[in-house]
Symmetry: C2
Subunit: 196 residues, 2 copies
Amino acid sequence: MSKSLDFLTEALRRLPGVGPKSAQRMAFHLLQHDREGAAMLSRALYQAVDAVHHCAMCNTFSETEVCDLCADEQRDRTLLCIVETPADQMMIEQTLTYKGLYFVLMGRLSPLDGIGPKDLHLEKLISRAADGDVKEVVLATNFTNEGEATAHYISEMLKARGLKVSRLARGVPVGGELEYVDAGTIARAMLDRRSA
Amino acid sequence: MSKSLDFLTEALRRLPGVGPKSAQRMAFHLLQHDREGAAMLSRALYQAVDAVHHCAMCNTFSETEVCDLCADEQRDRTLLCIVETPADQMMIEQTLTYKGLYFVLMGRLSPLDGIGPKDLHLEKLISRAADGDVKEVVLATNFTNEGEATAHYISEMLKARGLKVSRLARGVPVGGELEYVDAGTIARAMLDRRSA
């Protein structure tokens, strides 16, 4: 086998979820059937590593000092929504129900993986939330154990600084049939029931 | 989202088996946790596209005009083994039972996918097999429908030119228990039985 091919196969293994067999299959495919795609991917990687940094305000990926969303004067600067990833942020944007700004953690607290408060740059979040404009922080981390723990930690931290903190409502999903919803979700929906 | 990130996500989708969600996850992972890996993959792709071509003799990936194996004077030049992919070739090399040369088809006949004799560059194989040194061609394409059809087609083509053509033996795999081997394999092993 050629050295460049070995190097390519090894480099492809750096992608998450790609093992030795997949990496080899990908390398063969690109060289045999899609050299144009390989060249395009090479350029895209180079360009992204070079150009993509973190927004100074919300911490998401951005090519400019401040991302487009944070720079948008139309957004409500009194609301700050905290999400784990840019993908989560996009999901919330798609709902068209939120007009405030965001802070993207780029992860979650996960002691088992060695990710503590320092790794999440929570000091950046504190200074962001304490800018004087922000009145309410909406916690929209995932409803997993780690997401909940992260929300709890950030909640305590920000409440201690006098900020109003809220969390996305938990309950039965839209379209959910009680028979097929897990008991934990129904218990939560019962405890959080609202006047109809 | 930043343009470079969109471009990277789109480029990652050119990899086989990578859909929109995986591509996004890969892009986020590389930018957030492994920028070094991203830069390395960029270089590896660029280098492979630039340096890797096809061996003039056996058609496998090679950085030199003729690959190391074809250039090896120790190999038996009267034997030519035909395989579908470089991965298949590596498997045969690992068995240490074959000392001849190879021809790598880089595919198989597959009319449903629009891959006919011309796409496989079979004219390159014919001129290779007719070099005067080759006495026997061993067909080692896969034992799938397409691999068998490819073997049959090549076999007819080369026998018409007076070459001796053989095929890897079919039968019960080593370690196989008859109870768990499929009937087609046992039928084949019965028909091809050898004196013990």
